[in-house]
Amino acid sequence: MARATSRNAKIGWTAAAWFVALLIFFPILYTIITSLKTEQEAIAGFDLIPSLTLESYQTVQSQNNYWRPFTNSVILAVGSTILALIVAIPAAWAMAFSPTRRTKDILMWMLSTKMMPAVAVLVPIYLIFLRTGLMDTRIGLTVLLMLINLPIVVWMLYTYFREIPGEILEAARMDGATLRDEILYVLTPMAIPGIASTLLLNIILAWNEAFWTIQLTTTNAAPLSAFIASFSSPQGLFWAKLSAASTMAIAPILILGWFSQKQLVRGLTFGAVK
């Protein structure tokens, strides 16, 4: 009797959970479906079954030169993340393995730099980019995105590094390991999972950044976020094409995101929730 009730309860909860999940996922699902329709079908009213045409994908690629913003997105997201890691790994390492009395304060200060609204420095950054010829260049935007995400990268790495037990280092030293051996054979293998998670989350954040990319690019260095935003001015009916462009812009990051959902919590809460 009790078992039957719990089975019924499970069916009920499952139905409710799936209903809510599908409702939340629906806008994405419908975009993917619409991207596989013709433009006529796309505006013909609600319909979940597309004709599975790839017409819109082809049009977006040939008319709007989709590959340029796509390449820019990859270069900006990966480039800014690697730059941030190069600066942040030594810093997080030092703070985790030889902390001083001020380490906590420095970390809190880094966190506080994220509190500064981007729009507060729009004017100077815009003028600096204008005058130094960095406007609409990949290098300018890469460095900027690196600076924006640097606090999160340092924090994330710090929380991972701190979990590496210090006794292991002492043991290695007792066995006569040099500093080079320590870093190469003991710490690096233990640090790699944390670095990989940080890399993944930061690529997602940089890929989706949409304030500076819109402000500081026009065509040359515009990544997908700026490219898609330019679709906002209506040029006739373009539902299927818009859906195709959107699907291509979010698909890579959606898949990366599914793999990194655990790290996401940790990274975005600065290690406060694990």
Binding site: K10, W13, A17, W18, V20, A21, I24, F25, P27, I28, Y30, T31, A42, P90, A91, A94, M95, F97, T100, I106, M110, S112, M115, M116, P117, V119, A120, V121, L122, V123, P124, I125, Y126, I128, L150, I204, W207, N208, A210, F211, I214, Q215, S225, I228, A229, F231, S232, L242, S243, S246, A249, I250, I253, W258, Q261, L264, L268, T269, A272, V273
Partner: protein, 289 residues
């Protein structure tokens, strides 16, 4: 000796990150402060002169300014309310023993990975469009008049879109917190006959307090800077009905080329962000460590 060497090395390793962030924080902010006291328009750069407090006065007396502050607060509070309440509900639902929990989880967190311009355009065209959107189809199915969302309820529409983007974040963090709840404690309470609502009120909610605090703090930082969603949907309108402070400053800088005015707005945004940060930290600080 060795320790001193390590200390020196550690300092050297920390330095680049600290120096870079310090420059990034202080230089542009000082420049903003300086520009905010200038009469400086990019359309007329030769006429630059000292303005004193004029830009602040101008910004403050502009009726759009108060409206944008009001919109900023409504936007932040509206999204926080929906995401925290919805997040708690969905987290509890996913945490139940259900079939396909992994897939449900993936479906629910997906909107977080959709970049803001795409999210806004999907909602604007596919969902909320008064003639071709899904909501219009639903309204017609029930014989009702379709709603022209962005014309009639511009701010509410933006709140809905942003809440959709941030609901996964709140859900994921609250779910993580929920899963660390001691099941034995819950079972004991159940055995003792504590009804579901008091188990929620006295066990679940206190346990999640820290996570809720974190959600509110982090979301507020991001929600104060909402920009792309407004740009591609309402462009701040009609009038200033959906202009927040970020968008107002963007308009001053990029559309009116008013460098001085935009800089003054930027300083006001910094002050607002800091007031909110201090207020939040104090109000909810007891939940953090």
């Amino acid at each position: 000796m060795a320790t001193r060497q390590t200390q020196g090395l550690a300092r050297l390793m920390r330095a680049p990150a600290i120096i870079l962030l310090f420059i990034w924080m202080i230089v542009p902010l000082c420049m903003t402060l300086y520009y905010s006291f200038l009469n400086y328009n990019l359309l007329n750069p030769g006429m630059t002169s000292w303005a004193g407090w004029f830009n602040y006065q101008y910004f403050y007396t502009d009726p759009a300014f108060l409206e944008s502050i009001k919109n900023t607060l409504i936007l932040v509070l509206g999204v926080l309310f929906i995401t925290v309440v919805g997040g708690i509900g969905i987290a509890i639902l996913i945490d139940k023993p259900i079939w396909g929990q992994g897939i449900v989880r993936i479906l629910v967190i997906s909107p977080f990975f959709v970049m803001p311009p795409v999210a806004a355009l999907i909602w604007k065209n596919m969902i909320m469009h008064p003639s071709y959107g899904v909501l219009a189809d639903v309204a017609q199915f029930f014989g009702a008049q379709p709603v022209d969302w962005f014309a009639q309820y511009p701010l509410t529409s933006i709140i809905l879109i942003v809440a959709w983007q941030w609901l996964p974040f709140a859900t994921l963090i609250l779910l993580t917190a929920l899963q660390s709840l001691d099941t034995e404690q819950m079972e004991a309470a159940e055995m003792d006959g504590a009804p579901a609502h008091s188990r929620f009120l006295y066990l679940v909610l206190p346990h999640m307090a820290r996570a809720i605090t974190v959600v509110i703090l982090i979301q507020t930082i991001f929600l104060l800077g909402i920009y792309a969603e407004i740009l591609v949907t309402t462009n701040g309108g009609p009038g200033f009905a959906s202009t927040n402070l970020t968008f107002l400053i963007y308009r001053a800088a990029r559309l009116n080329f008013d460098i001085g005015g935009a800089a003054a707005g930027g300083i006001i945004a910094v002050i607002l962000a800091n007031v909110i940060a201090v207020f939040l930290m104090r109000a909810v600080g007891k939940n953090l460590d």
